[in-house]
Amino acid sequence: MAELGRAALVLTLGLVLYAVAAGVYAAAARRRRLARSAQNALLAAFVSTAVAAAVLWAALVRRDFSFVYVAGHTATKLPLVYRLSAFWGGQEGSLLLWLLILTGFGAAAVLLDRRATRDLLAWVTPVLGGVAVFFAFMLVAVASPFATQAAPADGAGLNPSLQNPYMLAHPPLLYLGYVGLTIPWAFGMGALLSGRTDERWIVATRRWTLAAWMFLGIGQLLGSHWAYVEVGWGGYYAWDPVENAALMPWLAATAFLHSVMIQEKRGMLRVWNMLLVILAFGLSLFGTFLTRSGVINSIHSFTQSSIGAWFVGFIAVVIAFSLTLVFWRLPLLRSKTKLESLVSREATFLYNNLLFVALTLTILWGVTFPILSEAVRGTAITVSKPYYNFFLRAFGLPLLLLMGIGPLVPWRRASLRSLERTFLWPIGVAVAAGVVLVFLGGGSSSVGLITYTFAAFVTASIVFEFARGTRARHALAGGSWLRAFTGLIARNRRRYGGYVVHAAIVLLAVGIAGSSIYQTVRERKLRPGQTMTVAGYTLAYRSLQVKTGPNATESRALLAVSRGKSSLGTLGPGKNFYPVEQQTSNEVAIRSNLVTGEDLYVIADQINRDGSVYFKVLVKPAVNLIWLAGFVFVLGSVIALWPDAREERRLAERYGTAGAAVRA
């Protein structure tokens, strides 16, 4: 069956090459049937890629070790669900996943927008096809998932620490995000190629961008949660290049999400938006490349792989192509409207954009510095946590503050007097929160205090937005307060969904600040019977329990936890030893306080033969707010994504496609 897979991929390559060639000719010479044929080729490419994917999945389910890929990433004993997820466990499979999602999204974009954007779509088709050509070529000629061998008795297996639900969901979600950012970029390039100066491309891709951004955000959060509970060093983000690889496009996309709002409302920042979408897409390609090649010394990407050079070449081509287009169409892009006042919502969006881009570029610099310094000076110089933390604070804290300021400032212009009134309460709340925090001992860190105060300010600002809006709507429409509240959100889904997302970011900021700045760490070696205290918790080491399970030998150091006089149960941190893979894994024990969000995090760092254990205990305040933020983030994104019939009608009328389903 491997031949079917290989043939299907060759077919895909042929189809997308046709989509590019026919698509370009059809768009330039304005041929309707040929354009339609090129679009069909994109749809067909999805079908053939899906067939290839099905072949690989079937081989994984069947445990067909004659497939090199299956033997390399699964084993006979591996449960079904992890055999399925091994699809993206290796390089070839994850390239196939990229192509599958890309052709899938391409097909969806074509089908959904077919009637509405005929000329724009005529150019978008070959652009999407072009990206697909690269991935299809890699899969056919450089890294095929369908290499075969004489089947060995058993496969190499999957790293035990990857066998958990978070690692199931993390790569596909990230890929949905990375690939999703291709769509707005392709539409932007299509707009430049077709010479259209209107906002159609932004309107058409708004939901794509938002959805991709949401997936990218959730994917990262899941990855962090996995690192926290599975890898177990006590943290959730290590500024490793592969982690940054996903963060950078997400930050660029966040900037883009905000600045397109300005373009929609005021027609400004057209060139900036083009550059931003190119940056976001370029970074998502770069992110895929970082994770998959061995170019940067990261603990994730040790395999020096063949695809690195190809990726660099492709990214260079994409950037060059995009920038050339922007330069060519520069006269068309220049907007007529100007920024009226430095104190306006447009201005706060502009500042927020600058900060996001600055943060993205500093992270990019930190990630690429080792390669650059090696090329220039001969030794690779790495930067680590202090560098990233500094800039996260330098740019992140002003961003946090802006999140609270932005909603309070009206568009176009604001007089200082009206600002005084709207800002009074939120600033008051922030100052009060700051004072309370100092009393609670938060004054030990000025950064922590500032973060919490800003967070209080933003929270107050959001709450007031909802309150004011509900009150206005209630005064206007009557009915119950609840109806006014839901009606408010329903009529302004993007705005209030956005506010909910901001609330999620506030939770994230508080959680990160609390669990890093205000955490307590203690390390002690204990013999059975001994106790240690950390930040009010008392841990008494009772005994060491060793159990032999089907796959692993599990050692657990049982601790009785109490706080003051009340017992808080038992924790059992320890280690698992897997004889087949000859590997030990760390099993941390976490006790979460659901009221305060605090975690008691215990690592059995070293288990000695005499039964004594070296424990590392961390008390992390507010850390669970980070995971809570994930749920709120999704909620807000879904609200903002939700289709709005009234808006659809308005857009249909504008673009003269009344009666057709307009994707917005």
Binding site: L339, L342, N586, I603, D605
Partner: protein, 130 residues
Amino acid sequence: MARKRNPARLVIALSVAAVLAVFLLYTSIAGGGTPSLKPSQLAGHSGRVSLAGAVVGPVTGDAHQGGLHFRVKDIKGTESVVVLYVGSVPDLFKVGRHVVVDGRLKGGTFVAVPDTLVTKCPSKYTPKKS
């Protein structure tokens, strides 16, 4: 009220200047980062560096008491250096694995900064660290 000069340009220019200033300030104060070296490149570097290489046995001692002793050699070579490490040892740590650890060379021994030992995963797409 149309202004002759677009204030946005001024804002952008000032902001870029401010960002660059912050960046330069940081790098001048905090230094440029840690060099990442192989054992064969260690000679002559006296400051804190990041050592990358493969673990060579025997591994003796206790990382939490007295220190763990092992050698690290060039991945593609034979030169090696003795390492003295105190702190958390990642689970993947084993003879033959590739590691990165921060520290400085003191009298022939690479004295590691506590808790900076990181082990790379062998060939699979997995992250593992301490």
